[in-house]
Every structure is written in structure tokens, then in C-alpha cells.
């Protein structure tokens, strides 16, 4: 137990370091962006109306005060850390004065729901098919499904999404192609609302599953086909252990280790992966929120979403790190 406590302490330290470095880097890069939120707001407000040029200067000064953009970069950085610790990322510049946090919090459940569901389906299905295909190499059905999955794999998410959108929204219009739920439906734990959620989530989730399936399938198949030739598997085969047992106990378990690490680490990419899908299907998640933030030069919002994703991924990696020694006993001994 002592060793485990030490391991835990190390991981905790690393966990906080990751957050510190990640957040600092994100702040730095975001602040290097030449997009000036004040100019963006001025442009937004003067784009269409009749504007007196003398008034714009006044407006600019007022906005700078409002947005708290005054002071040196160090001042802004320290102020930002204060906000991170309080869980308050300040007001969104493009949705002033709504707090960034409340924008993220209302978008986050959509993304978490969509991504968890599609990731679990993708990971389970991809690994199962990949492991089976790596073990039973001559099975025709598995070969065919493997070929299908691999053929879909390189197709960009945008194209898969657009094809699904065309197929089920246009040629055979049975599924909604936009939004997270039916319009004017009261959110709540009602059957109608849950159904509406599922119906609206189907196409985005399907897109993410089809896009993601291939990489799990391919890496699992390769891992398994390597392990199959390992000595311990060969001995087991010679020793007459049943092939089902070899598959589940000797092969799959070993191959799952890197795949489990992969699952935790792929969480960092899901924000990126979801961006195009959420954007295409107008899904009200964090990815779409972020793209809007970028388009509007809202660095408070972009920074908020980035920070939340850094913390979320760090937490996920931490949890996987805790589980890891339980599954791979060799690590425990080190």
C-alpha cells in the first residue's frame, strides 16, 4: 500500500503540473492572437448603422474599460490565474456581459453527452472488431467488416457528416439535421424530450463513430496480431488452452493496455474532432461555441474553453493512470 501511496503522490503532482503548464501555454498563445476584441466589437456595432466617425473613438475607449483589457500582459496573466482558481473566466467579450463560464456550462453537457456516447461505442466496437480480426485472421465476415471500416477511416469527418446529412435529411428525410432537440420543447426528464435528444443526436454521433472506428480497429488488430505470436500465447496454444480463453485472457487483456491509455489520451482530441461535426449539424456543444468564439475574436471564451478542456483531459488521464497498475501487474512491481 505504501508503494501505491507514493505512486499516487507522484501522479497528483504531475496532474497539477500539467494543468499549470497547459493553462499558461494556452494563455500565452491566445494572447499572441492579433484579434483585438475591442475592434471586433466596434466593427460589430458600426457595421450596418449610420455611424458618426467622431463617436467611434469614444466607444472604443469605453469598451476597453469594460472588457478589462488594460494593464500589462503580466497583470492580465495573474488576473487570469485568479479567475481560473475561482472558476470564473470573466465576461465573454462577444456575449458581454454573460460570464464565459455560464456559456461553457450550458454547452458542456451537450458535448459531454455526444462525445461520451460516441466514444464508448467507437472504442468498444472498434476494439472488439479489431481484436477479433487480429485473432481470427481467416474469418471472411471480419475481413469484410475490417475493409469497410478501414475504407471509411480516412474520409474526413466533414464528408461523412455531409453524406449522412444528405442521406437521412434530404434523400430519405427521416432525421433532423440541425440542433440538439426539437424547437419549443421543454427540457426535462420526459419521454418526449429524451426521444428528441436521441433523434437529434443520431447523425452527429454516427458521424463521430464512423470517423473514429477505424483507428481503434487498426491499432487493436495490429496489437493482437503481434501478441498472438508472443511466446506465452504459443505455449498456451501448445498446452491446449481453449482458444476462447486464449483470446480473452492471454491476448485481449494485454492488447487493451495501450488501447486504454489511448482512450484517456484521445479525450484531448475530441474537442477538436467534435468541432467540425458540431458545426455541421449545428449541435449546441462546446466545439461550436469555440468556433464562434474564434470567429468573433472572443479570446476570453476561447481561453475558457481551452482551459476547461485541459483540466478535463488532465483529470481523465489521472484516472486512467490510477487504474493502469490494477490491470498491468508488471507496473506495480517497478
Amino acid at each position: 500500500m505504501d508503494g501505491f501511496a507514493k505512486y499516487l503522490g507522484r501522479r497528483l503532482f504531475q496532474f497539477f503540473l500539467v494543468i499549470f503548464l497547459g493553462v499558461s501555454l494556452a494563455f500565452l498563445i491566445t494572447n499572441l492572437s492579433p484579434v483585438d476584441p475591442v475592434e471586433q466589437s466596434v466593427a460589430l456595432m458600426t457595421n450596418f448603422g449610420a455611424t458618426d466617425p467622431r463617436s467611434v473613438e469614444l466607444m472604443r475607449q469605453a469598451l476597453q474599460e469594460l472588457y478589462g483589457l488594460q494593464g500589462s500582459m503580466l497583470d492580465q496573466y495573474l488576473a487570469f490565474w485568479g479567475r481560473v482558481i475561482r472558476g470564473d473566466f470573466g465576461p465573454s467579450l462577444s456575449a458581454f456581459p454573460t460570464p464565459v463560464m455560464s456559456l461553457i456550462m450550458s454547452a458542456l453537457p451537450w458535448t459531454i453527452g455526444l462525445l461520451t456516447l460516441s466514444l464508448v461505442i467507437t472504442w468498444t466496437l472498434g476494439n472488439l472488431l479489431g481484436a477479433l480480426a487480429g485473432y481470427y485472421r481467416s474469418n471472411l465476415l471480419l475481413k469484410l467488416s475490417g475493409a469497410a471500416v478501414m475504407a471509411l477511416h480516412p474520409v474526413p469527418a466533414y464528408i461523412i457528416g455531409l453524406c449522412l446529412l444528405l442521406a437521412f435529411g434530404f434523400i430519405w428525410p427521416i432525421l433532423p439535421i440541425s440542433g440538439g432537440a426539437q424547437m419549443n420543447l421543454q427540457p426535462g426528464l420526459t419521454l418526449d424530450y429524451l426521444r428528441s435528444l436521441i433523434v437529434h443526436g443520431t447523425l452527429p454521433a454516427l458521424t463521430l463513430v464512423l470517423v473514429g472506428l477505424g483507428s481503434w480497429f487498426i491499432s487493436m488488430r495490429s496489437l493482437v496480431s503481434n501478441i498472438v505470436t508472443d511466446d506465452h500465447v504459443v505455449y498456451a496454444e501448445l498446452g491446449g488452452v481453449s482458444s476462447n480463453k486464449i483470446f480473452s485472457q492471454y491476448v485481449a487483456r494485454n492488447a487493451l493496455l495501450p488501447q486504454l491509455t489511448g482512450l484517456a489520451l484521445s479525450l484531448g482530441n475530441v474537442f477538436g474532432g467534435a468541432v467540425i461535426t458540431e458545426f455541421l449539424f449545428n449541435y449546441p456543444g462546446v466545439g461550436r461555441l469555440m468556433i464562434q468564439g474564434i470567429y468573433r475574436g472572443d479570446y476570453a471564451l476561447v481561453l475558457g474553453v481551452t482551459t476547461i478542456s485541459i483540466i478535463a483531459v488532465a483529470v481523465a488521464v489521472f484516472i486512467i493512470d490510477l487504474i493502469y497498475p490494477l490491470i498491468d501487474p508488471r507496473v506495480r512491481l517497478s
Binding site: 492579433p34 484579434v35 475592434e39 471586433q40 466589437s41 466596434v42 466593427a43 456595432m45 458600426t46 457595421n47 450596418f48 448603422g49 449610420a50 455611424t51 458618426d52 466617425p53 467622431r54 463617436s55 467611434v56 469614444l58 466607444m59 469605453a62 469598451l63 474599460e65 469594460l66 465573454s92 462577444s94 456575449a95 458581454f96 456581459p97 454573460t98 456559456l103 472488439l128 446529412l165 435529411g169 434530404f170 427521416i174 433532423p176 439535421i177 440541425s178 440538439g180 426539437q182 424547437m183 419549443n184 420543447l185 418526449d192 426521444r195 436521441i198 433523434v199 455541421l280 449539424f281 449545428n282 449546441p284 461550436r288 461555441l289 474564434i294 470567429y295 468573433r296 475574436g297 472572443d298
Partner: protein, 629 residues
């Protein structure tokens, strides 16, 4: 085994959810009572305060359906019919030297919570915004208004800091204007800048029904007392549109699909190809601004090739003219709009009253206009462009293209400059340029290359126009690369961080000959140093004493005086001679309407209202629509 189970599970899920797909498109609202309009993705869905910076949340129906102010100009209208008195009972009344403006208000108008609208609301609106810098119209009020006072319940008198014959334009809607605030709501509020005004009280015929906290849709409902509004009192019977739904319908492809599935009645803009698809596959239940090709609605906005006059060599008028003469406008029209462009040689959009006020009367002047190339004078104007475009699109559109040249001019524009590489060569040589092989060299001997900035995806037609012009210049020996600025476009234009760009620097009332809407900001007083942000709209930073003289003269002329059009022509002639930017065309928008549920949309034949979903003037269309069944 496993596959079977999975398939069974999939079927089970499908069976549970399928019935939903067949349900109403909008829960609880009959489709035939709702008009569905393409809305923005509101980032600040809970925000309904029009007067404080709120993330552009106002285009989701808030400013179109609940806000009101003194006057409206129909951007597609002409003459007196384009002007509407909304909250005001009459046009603005100025004193002799334009230092005082009096507004008479209508009676019997009520806020949606039953409180009566009075002159006190107006005074409160102006004073509150002056007291709170950062509110939307705070700065223009501060600059202009010395004092404002309600002399009686229905009369407001503005005393101005300096003479200004255009002060009333602050309260005149062309897209938007200074909206009147509900005094009885905001005086209860501690800070009007941070108050979200949710739910908003309405001063117009519709009020908030429900909204999506994720910002994808907002539903507005007809007020029970719709007659007690400025728009309602002009109607003889209740508007048939009971609900207005602003929904963010996704990317252009999704918009086309949604309209063809009858889930989106009004589209803001799509690419020409999407428009042609709708006309081809759903022609029977859709309507457009023009009944056939070119379909599009021309906004009173003028996409142009903008030069940065503060960067060499674009300060030289000969260089600008040379670049204009290297453009083959026919391929620009075909490539950007597939021929469906309304071309403009004058520096004002060829829409609304500009046709009769400027384009028709100035044709002779344009035809006789001579340009000195340094190698003799040429007459560059080609009035037959519209016929040439018609010949190019005829193979695709056949008999739907009329043969009457007058009609063609209204569809494709009155004329443009002939492509003339020889004259361009002469002009460039006059400016000290020389040609080495097929590469033009600047006077200092370095190659003449251009970075042409476009915004990109947001306005696909202009991005396309940019790539074509870049190719034409490159082929003539001026290497031009297209630079997609994306979201930084506005900032770079304002900051003068570009050589040449495709964008607009001219927008007009559309329904009125007065050009002060953009021209006022062209005065040299407002030109900034390179690197500093130029106030809208003189993005090219064009500076000319003759221009200043025109602007100063316009300031002292009454809005409705015939002299306004005279000064307008002076500006247009100067702009042709100087070519400060190359006007290309009106900003055409492909905005098809679905007629499955609603009919009576405005069109070129009956331009009774603006039709753009984000224009506040849209309200006059909504109340005029008739149910199809």
C-alpha cells in the same frame, strides 16, 4: 451472435424514436401559423438588451420584431413611398440652421406590458445612453446632443451641439437605428449595461414566446394588442403570421435542404449554385426577388476592389485605373455569381432610387467620359455589358432571359469598363512602371506583386471574384495572390493592414438619394495614420480636397432637397475620375422564399419591403404575408 444482438438493439432504438421524426416540426405550434426565418447562431441567447453590447444578439428577431423608433426607409423603395413614419407622426422638423430638431409622436402606442409609450421614453433613451458610455448609441448622442426635452406628451425637441441636417438619420432605420428604450423597465435597473432585459417588453407587433438557451432558435408571438403599435395601427386586419421562428439553420447546404423539406421559409443567403438547385428542384413552391434568372436580391451595398491609398503604389490614380482596365468584368460576373451579378460602374450600388437618381441620368456622361492614358485619350465605358452577359448565360437559361435591353440593364447592370490591356500598359508606363518579359516592375525596379485580401467562406461570391481578378492581373504580368483573412477581415480593413481587398466601403440608404450614410465619414478630418484604425467607412483612406468640399456642402443641405442628388452626382463623377476603389456590383443575395405555407413575399415587381432576415425593415413583410391554405 453479437452482430445479431447489435442489430436487434439498433432496431429497438429506431422503433422508439421514429415516431418523433413524424411529429410537428416545432413542438406545440401549428406549422401553418409560423413563419420560419434563417437566424444567426446567437452566442448570448439569454441576452435581450438591445442598447448594450450583447454579442450581436439582436438579429434573432429582437430588433426586427420588438423594437421601434421614429422612421423607416425601405431600402428597395423609391420616392416618397420609401419613407415610413413609425413612432413619429411626421417627418423631422429642423430649425433654420439645423441646430434643433423637433419630433412629433403618434398617440395610442403601448408597450407589450400595457404601459403607454410617450415622449418621456424618448428623453430617457437619449439621456440614459449619454450617461452610460458603452451603450450602443451613447457616442453619437454625446457628440450631437446638447439637450433633449419633452415639451409635451407627444413632442420631443433635440438641441444640437452644432448644425447637423442629418441628425434624424440616427433614428431612421436602414437595417437598424437608435431604438427607443422602455423607461418604466430600465429605471428600475441598477446598471443598464449589464441588465439582460429578459424577457423584453415589446414596442412592436410581436413579443417573445420562447427561446433556446443554446442560441439555435427564438420564437416570437403576435401580441394580442397588436393594434396598439405603430405598425399595427396601419393594418386593417390582424397579421396572419401568428408566430415568427428565427432558427439557425446551419451551413448553406443545410439551408437548401431545410427549405426543400419546408422547414425554412426565408433564407438569408446561399451560393448561386444552391439557388439554382432550389429553382430547378423546388421551383413550384418557391419565389425569388426576380421570378427567374438572376433570382438574387441586390442589397444597397457595393462590393469593390479596395486599394489602400496609404501604401505604394496604390496612391497613384493611374495605377488604380490600369488595374481596373485589366479586369474582364464578364468573367468576374460569371465566376462569382454565374452571371447573376448586378454590375456597377458608379460608386453607389445600382439599387432602389439610385437607378433613377444616378444611373439613368449619368449614362451619357459615362459614355463620353475620356481617360488620358498618357498615350492618348480613350473612352473606356462599355454600355453593352448587360447584353454580353445575357449572351453568356443564355445557353443555360434560354428564353427566361429577356431580349429587351432596358430590362437587361436592370438585371445585369447598366455598363462597365472595357477590358483594355493596351490602355493599362500605357497608364502603367505613364506611372513609371516598366515591363520585363511578362512581369511588370515598379518604378524602383522591383516586381509589382499584389496580395489581394478576401474574407472567405462568409461571403463565397466575393472570395470567388477575388480569385478571378487575381488570375486576370497575374496573366497580365502582375503576380497576385489571394489571401483569406477570415474573421480578421474587418479588423485588417479597419486597421489599413492590406494592399488590395475585395469588400465594400459604400453602403447607402437604398430608398433615398442622400449619400451621407457613408459619405460623411469620407471627410479627410477622419483619416488616420497607417496602423491606426480608420473609423468606418472610408476603408481605402481616400483623401481629396474636392471630396471634402462635396461633403461640407452636403452637411448644410436639407435631407429632401433636390440639391442632394446634384451633390451625389458630383461625388460619383469624382470617383470615376479618381477610381479610389473599383466598384464591381451590388451585393446580390440569393434569398429564396418557400411558398408552401406563406405567400405575398416582396419582389422586384412589388418591392414593398426589405426581405433580408436580419434587416429590421423585414417587419413590413411579415405583417403582409398571407397564409397559403
Amino acid at each position: 451472435m453479437l452482430l445479431k444482438k447489435l442489430a436487434a438493439a439498433a432496431f429497438a432504438i429506431a422503433a422508439t424514436v421514429m415516431p418523433v421524426a413524424a411529429q410537428d416540426f416545432i413542438a406545440g405550434i401549428p406549422r401553418e401559423e409560423a413563419l420560419i426565418i434563417q437566424g444567426p447562431a446567437a452566442q448570448n441567447a439569454e441576452w435581450f438588451n438591445l442598447w448594450a453590447p450583447g454579442g450581436g444578439a439582436s438579429n434573432n428577431g429582437l430588433q426586427q420584431l420588438t423594437a421601434d423608433t421614429f422612421w423607416f426607409i425601405n431600402p428597395d423603395g423609391t420616392g416618397d413611398a420609401a419613407w415610413t413614419n413609425a413612432l413619429a407622426s411626421d417627418k423631422p422638423i429642423y430649425n433654420e440652421d439645423f441646430t434643433e430638431m423637433t419630433v412629433k409622436l403618434k398617440e395610442g402606442i403601448y408597450w407589450s406590458d400595457g404601459v403607454e409609450f410617450t415622449a418621456d421614453d424618448v428623453v430617457y433613451t437619449v439621456q440614459t445612453q449619454m450617461a452610460n458610455p458603452g451603450m450602443g448609441w451613447s457616442a453619437p448622442f454625446t457628440v450631437n446632443v446638447e439637450s433633449v426635452e419633452a415639451t409635451d406628451r407627444n413632442t420631443v425637441v433635440f438641441t444640437l451641439n452644432a448644425p447637423n441636417s442629418r441628425f434624424h438619420t440616427l433614428f431612421t432605420v436602414r437595417w437598424n437605428a437608435a431604438w427607443i428604450m422602455p423607461k418604466h423597465v430600465f429605471e428600475q435597473v441598477e446598471d443598464p449595461l449589464t441588465y439582460n432585459n429578459n424577457p423584453p417588453v415589446s414596442l412592436s407587433a410581436y413579443q417573445l414566446h420562447s427561446y433556446d438557451s443554446a442560441g439555435n432558435w427564438v420564437i416570437w408571438k403576435l401580441r394580442d394588442d397588436w393594434e396598439r403599435t405603430s405598425i399595427g395601427m396601419t393594418l386593417s386586419e390582424a397579421p396572419e403570421v401568428k408566430y415568427v421562428v428565427y432558427r439557425n439553420a446551419g451551413n448553406p447546404d443545410a439551408r437548401v435542404i431545410e427549405q426543400m423539406n419546408h422547414n425554412l421559409d426565408v433564407i438569408n443567403d446561399i451560393a448561386p449554385e444552391g439557388m439554382f438547385t432550389i429553382a430547378r428542384d423546388a421551383g413550384e413552391n418557391t419565389k425569388y426577388w426576380f421570378p427567374g434568372f438572376p433570382f438574387a436580391h441586390p442589397d444597397p451595398t457595393l462590393p469593390s476592389v479596395l486599394f489602400n491609398h496609404q501604401r505604394e503604389p496604390f496612391a497613384d490614380k493611374d495605377v488604380r485605373w490600369a488595374l481596373a482596365l485589366l479586369i474582364d468584368i464578364r468573367s468576374v460576373s460569371m465566376g462569382s455569381y454565374r452571371g447573376a451579378a448586378n454590375l456597377a460602374a458608379l460608386s453607389t450600388p445600382p439599387t432602389g432610387t439610385a437607378i433613377t437618381d444616378y444611373y439613368v441620368p449619368m449614362q451619357d456622361w459615362l459614355a463620353n467620359f475620356e481617360l488620358d492614358t498618357g498615350d492618348g485619350a480613350i473612352k473606356p465605358y462599355d454600355p453593352t455589358i448587360s447584353e454580353q452577359i445575357a449572351a453568356l448565360v443564355k445557353p443555360q437559361w434560354g428564353d427566361s432571359i429577356p431580349s429587351d435591353t432596358e430590362e437587361l440593364k436592370r438585371m445585369f447592370g447598366f455598363g462597365w469598363w472595357k477590358q483594355d490591356p493596351a490602355a493599362a500598359t500605357a497608364l502603367l508606363q505613364k506611372a513609371g512602371f516598366s515591363k520585363n518579359g511578362n512581369q511588370w516592375l515598379k518604378p524602383d525596379g522591383t516586381p509589382f506583386t499584389i496580395k489581394l485580401m478576401v474574407e472567405g467562406d462568409n461571403i463565397p461570391t466575393l472570395a470567388r471574384a477575388g480569385t478571378i481578378i487575381a488570375q486576370q492581373w497575374s496573366m497580365e504580368g502582375i503576380q497576385t495572390t489571394v489571401d483569406v483573412a477570415g474573421p480578421t477581415n474587418g479588423q485588417r480593413l479597419g486597421g489599413g493592414d492590406f494592399d488590395v481587398a475585395i469588400y465594400w466601403t459604400v453602403e447607402t440608404w437604398g430608398g433615398h438619394p442622400d449619400l451621407s450614410f457613408f459619405l460623411e465619414s469620407y471627410h479627410s478630418d477622419f483619416i488616420k495614420q497607417p496602423g491606426e484604425t480608420q473609423p468606418p467607412r472610408n476603408l481605402t483612406r481616400w483623401e481629396d480636397e474636392r471630396l471634402d468640399a462635396i461633403i461640407e456642402a452636403n452637411r448644410t443641405v436639407n435631407f429632401d432637397s433636390p440639391e442632394v442628388a446634384q451633390l451625389g452626382m458630383d461625388y460619383l463623377k469624382l470617383a470615376v475620375e479618381e477610381m479610389p476603389f473599383i466598384p464591381l456590383m451590388a451585393y446580390n443575395k440569393f434569398a429564396p422564399f418557400d411558398t408552401t405555407y406563406w405567400t405575398g413575399y416582396p419582389s422586384a415587381a412589388d418591392p414593398y419591403s426589405a426581405s433580408g432576415p436580419f434587416w429590421s425593415n423585414l417587419r413590413y413583410m411579415i405583417v403582409a404575408l398571407k397564409a397559403a391554405q
